[in-house]
């Protein structure tokens, strides 16, 4: 399995698409940096409440956890590019027919799935860590307002967001494996990563609230408030709290302990589910390529 893992890494490193994604990450990093300058250095005297909404996390000043969230979560190009990377990693050997050359050598096809998933996790983790550290480093050097404070929130945000990111991408990995086509995986992956699915999930929340006779105002605040950083919740059941795309896109470091634990459990559950489905598919289905 380690050989297969190394092969996927080699292939990803040599692929043209990886280089294109690298360039796009660089471009979006520069754009995000300019936006971050406008928001955090605040040359236009933007009111504090508005700034909180723009940053997506309530808090004081230009501190690491807000910078981290701003670069990797608030500005969706990062997650969108990681989604594209995952889809291309999964499909490149299928679309090229390459998989037929090597797939047969394993009786236990799940090894193949785990090798590819591991390659995806290692690649994405490397990019995530590098992107996060770079964003912190550059802002620490360039922004006068930068303060090295609230590090506990930074570590919390860094770790939980990473777990959620891997869960979301594992789900994309599963969907792409199911379709075995870049277009199918890409469309659904991007719908999830860009937040388009959130609208449906929020609508479902309201429908469920209506059916079960809940206060619709509470339901609306619960389900929509998260997208603009409102943390107060009614505590009622909301379907969107268990949808990984919504959990990822609405997560913020100021979440309370219970919500943070729920987010982590949801991420682990989705990761396990997606991997189980991939394994099942690999064991049951003929190689279609």
């Amino acid at each position: 399995m380690s050989n297969l893992f190394r092969m996927h890494i080699y292939r990803a490193l040599k692929a043209k698409s990886t280089k294109v994604i690298g360039i796009l990450l660089g471009v979006f990093f520069a754009i995000t940096l300019i936006l971050a300058y406008v928001v955090f250095e605040n040359p236009f005297d933007i009111p504090g409440d508005v700034l909180d909404v723009l940053v997506g996390v309530k808090g004081k000043g230009t501190v690491p956890f807000r910078i981290h969230s701003f670069f990797t979560q608030m500005n969706s190009p990062f997650i969108i590019l990681m989604t594209i990377f995952t889809v291309l990693l999964v499909t490149s050997d299928f679309s090229r027919g390459y998989v037929k050359n090597i797939y047969g050598m394993f009786q236990d096809k799940s090894k193949f799935v785990f090798a590819k998933w591991s390659a995806m996790v290692v690649s994405v983790s490397t990019i995530y860590v590098a992107y996060s550290l770079l964003s912190l480093g550059v802002t620490a050097i360039c922004f006068k307002s930068f303060e090295m404070e609230c590090m506990d929130l930074f570590f919390k945000s860094f770790i939980v967001e990473y777990i959620l990111l891997i869960a979301l991408l594992t789900l994309v990995f599963m969907i792409t494996s199911l379709f075995k086509s870049a277009s199918g995986g890409m469309v659904i992956g991007l719908i999830m990563a860009s937040g388009m699915m959130q609208s449906i999930e929020h609508l479902l929340d309201l429908i469920i609230a209506k059916i079960t006779g809940q206060n619709l105002a509470d339901a609306a605040m619960d389900t929509l408030g998260g997208t603009i950083g409102i943390t107060e919740k009614s505590g009622a059941f909301r379907l969107s709290n268990y949808c990984i795309d919504n959990v990822f896109l609405t997560y913020h470091a100021n979440m309370d302990y219970a919500d943070t634990v729920r987010s982590i459990i949801v991420a682990i559950a989705w990761t396990a589910f997606a991997l189980a489905i991939c394994t099942l598919l690999a064991k049951k289905k003929d190689v279609r390529c």
């Binding site: 292939r11 050598m105 009786q107």
Partner: protein, 303 residues
């Protein structure tokens, strides 16, 4: 020699079709086995099952006499080129080979250079594969299938779409695989003329069923040479043949096939002329693999 691969009533059913129906083939070590059949006959599905890419609905196959599906190590010694060479177009030939070598834990780059030399791609350098001709891609596909030094190589339609030079190059590679590396090759094709040049045993598949399996020698024996005669008046010709003592002949559509006096074709011509038979065509011919196939499958030209 012994069989390296046998299938035992192997069957693959899809929702609306039985793609492979109780096929039992026997492949000897070191031979080139030609799998013949028209498009959709079940050749690729059969190869996919042998390559462990598709699960048989019923039946089984054995590798070295052991059940194929339990032969993890043997599976690693099968090389596969099915339908598509499976290459990354932006990478060079060497990098394509390197990617697959890593999957098998092979670290010797010199071996990969030798492989490129073997298939005649030693001088392509860093040229991206997308700039290769179809023939070069197919040869790279064979090199990719050989990375793990396979004992059994499965080649599905490797000469499809190639020009005559490309076909000759692939034929040369297969010949060298067999003679120099003693690799057993199963090659499927619907270009029967080419297959007859490289294979030493044939399996003929039609509508998912194996309708014949024979060696080259058996094929030659069945494709007996005969004298082909076409004349203006078949009734008069038939009478003349009987008069001069020819008994082993058959009338087929518009011509006669005579299975005796094969070394006396000139004398036969003179005798028939004396009987005033107006011959329009006279030649000695043998049945080709293609003709044999048509006869066996009912003459479908779509092969």
């Amino acid at each position: 020699m012994g069989y390296i691969l046998t299938t035992d009533n192997i069957t693959k059913k899809f929702k609306y079709k039985v793609a492979v129906n109780q096929v039992s083939i026997h492949v000897e070590r070191g031979e080139v086995y030609g799998l013949i059949g028209k498009n959709g006959a079940g050749k690729t599905t059969l190869l996919k099952m042998i390559a462990n890419l598709s699960f048989p609905t019923s039946g089984s196959y054995t590798l070295h006499g052991e059940n194929g599906e339990s032969q993890q190590e043997m599976m690693k010694r099968i090389g596969v080129l099915i339908e598509d060479p499976g290459i990354f177009p932006n990478l060079s030939a060497m990098k394509n080979l390197k990617a697959k070598a890593i999957a098998y834990g092979i670290k010797n780059d010199n071996y990969l250079v030798e492989l490129l030399q073997f298939v005649g791609l030693a001088d392509v350098g860093e040229k991206p594969v997308k700039n290769f001709s179809l023939g070069m891609r197919q040869r790279l596909g064979i090199a990719l299938a050989m990375v793990n030094s396979p004992e059994l190589l499965l080649l599905d339609e490797p000469i499809n779409g190639l020009d005559p030079q490309g076909i000759a190059e692939i034929r040369g590679v297969i010949h060298r695989l067999c003679t120099e590396l003693h690799t057993t090759v199963i090659i499927s094709s619907h270009i029967l003329e080419e297959l007859s040049k490289v294979a030493s045993r044939y399996g003929i598949i039609h509508d998912g069923r194996l309708i014949d399996e024979l060696t080259k020698e058996e094929l030659n024996a069945r494709c007996t040479p005969h004298i082909f005669i076409r004349a203006k008046d078949p009734a008069q010709t038939s009478a003349a043949l009987q008069k001069i003592g020819v008994t082993q002949y058959e009338f087929r559509e518009d011509h006669f096939e005579i299975n005796e006096r094969l070394d006396q074709i000139a004398e036969l011509n003179i005798q028939l002329a004396r009987e005033n038979v107006q011959i329009t065509e006279l030649r000695l011919e043998g049945q080709s693999l293609e003709e044999y196939y048509f006869r066996l499958t009912g003459g479908n030209i779509n092969v």
